[in-house]
């Protein structure tokens, strides 16, 4: 890649003003670091992955509002976690985390258990019990 071939597609939303270092060859044939402010192809593919997460999260949110899943499932997914990671972080067995994703069981949880989830997810206990309406 030549210095003038380093993509500068100015993908503001993606990089948030931060530049990425790329290695490229300058006119004398030497490698130098060139800051790039974005590449469309890369942004597009990253966008796909981000959108997929957002779509799944939205599905979970609707399921919570419909009473099919507990708010815990939503907050876990918002932190891009899976029951295995959340269970380890909160110190709760994975099978219990999975059970707590069912609304009728989540409703009966003690405050001490809720607090452990809340700390692990970096939210308050009140936030943990609800999901955004919109």
């Amino acid at each position: 890649m030549k210095v003038n071939e380093v993509p500068q597609d100015n993908t503001v939303q993606y990089y948030e003003g931060i530049k990425r270092a790329c290695y490229a060859v300058n006119n004398e044939g030497k490698y130098v670091i060139v800051p790039s402010n974005g590449w469309e192809a890369e942004e597009f593919i990253n966008g796909l992955a981000v959108d997929e997460l957002a779509v799944n999260l939205e599905k979970t949110r609707k399921a919570v509002l419909a009473g099919e899943k507990s708010p815990l499932a939503y907050h876990m997914e918002r932190r891009q976690m899976i029951p295995g990671i959340l269970g380890k972080t909160a110190g709760i067995a994975v099978f219990r985390v999975k059970r707590h994703c069912r609304p009728e069981i989540f409703a009966k949880l003690k405050d001490s258990v809720l607090d452990r989830y809340a700390t692990a997810l970096a939210i308050t206990r009140e936030e943990l019990k609800t999901v955004p309406q919109k």
Partner: protein, 344 residues
């Protein structure tokens, strides 16, 4: 590049780097007075690699990696350049933070392994649960730390809460608060021997691992999978997998083309060190291979966008990868011969 001061009052120059681990390691060496560039560390630490792990899933997709496992670059570079290093793991978060503060106060900068999701100064779209990001902590500030993240173009402030979460995150490849720093380094290390060792190690890993998922064989394996994936998995799922491969190649701090350009930069520097025209040619060849990897990324993006013309197919993407495999194999064989002949 921007000036910062460490807790010990020493000036620290932040260098913008392509990859986190090699950037952190070279900054640690520079802080001790050895001027060494990021590609040099990357080459000496044998950072370049290829592996496709179809059975290890990350967000439901198989992992393709263009580098060695996290931590290996620092370990190998430290061993080959020589010096006295401290590495520590912690079970207890409080002990880990206390030790970090103590070491910072002694005027030392510290490398940390962290989870990228909890580092809130990062752009949102890069944040995902990945436990192998490396940063440097410079000094403590009011309710936080001043950190130099080599992937970003300037030093940042990180909240204490975030840093604790990031250091002690759970999940695959837990960092366990891993911190590392040099106490002293060899003042005039034997660069030539270190470079030769690094190159030969790389050639061995790329050419001689007797498993079909690593090295050159790994590239061929993945190329064949990509070429037929739309028929086996269906268009939608095949696109997800292809997108993931390109993300691993371009996004996760690689300096372009899955570290291939950075390795070419290393070969160029070693060519100067040894005065060897052979290595210079290999560097140019590596650049050419990197260009093909870039083309693979562009073709993949077009396939997924579906707006490509008829010729942009999965078979073409896989074909490009096979070309890379063939040329890389040739390159590492030549490199092995060239490095074997060099005098330390």
């Amino acid at each position: 590049m921007s000036e910062e001061v460490t807790a010990g009052g020493k000036p620290f120059i932040h260098h913008h780097s392509a990859h986190c681990e090699s950037g952190v390691t070279s900054a640690l060496f520079r802080d001790k007075g050895l001027e060494i560039s990021e590609p040099m560390i990357f080459g000496i630490g044998s950072g370049i690699f290829f592996g496709h792990l179809p059975f290890v899933k990350w967000v439901g997709l198989p992992i393709s990696t263009y580098r060695t496992q996290p931590g290996a670059i620092f370990r190998k570079a430290a061993k080959r350049l020589g010096g006295e290093f401290v590495t520590q793991h912690f079970r207890n978060a409080k002990k880990g933070m206390d030790e970090l503060r103590r070491v910072l106060q002694s005027g030392q900068i510290v490398g940390l392994t962290t989870n990228i999701y909890w580092l809130s100064y990062f752009p949102n779209r890069f944040r995902f649960q990945f436990n192998g990001h490396n940063i440097i902590v410079l000094h403590e500030i009011e309710n936080g730390f001043r950190v130099s993240d080599p992937v970003l173009d300037r030093p940042m402030d990180c909240l204490t809460d975030d840093l604790v979460r990031a250091r002690f995150a759970r999940g695959p490849m837990e960092p366990h608060g891993f911190m590392y720093y040099p106490l002293s380094i060899t003042p005039k290390p034997d660069m030539r021997t270190a470079c030769i060792k690094g190159m030969l190690d790389t050639c061995n890993m790329m050419l001689r691992i007797p498993l079909p998922i690593f090295g050159i064989r790994g590239i061929r394996f993945l190329a064949k999978r990509v070429a037929t994936s739309d028929k086996k998995l269906g268009f939608q799922e095949a696109c997800r997998e292809l997108g993931n491969i390109v993300r691993m190649q371009e996004e996760v701090g690689t300096g372009g083309a899955g570290f291939r350009y950075m390795y070419a930069a290393f070969l160029q520097e070693t060519a100067e060190l040894f005065g060897s025209p052979e290595l210079n040619e290999l560097s140019q060849e590596m650049t050419a291979i990197g260009d093909i990897w870039r083309e693979f990324a562009v073709v993949s993006a077009r396939i997924i966008k579906k707006r490509g013309k008829q010729e942009e197919t999965f078979a073409k993407a896989g074909g490009l990868m096979l070309v890379c495999a063939g040329r890389e194999e040739e390159l590492y064989k030549n490199l092995r011969d060239a490095a074997g002949k060099l005098k330390a």
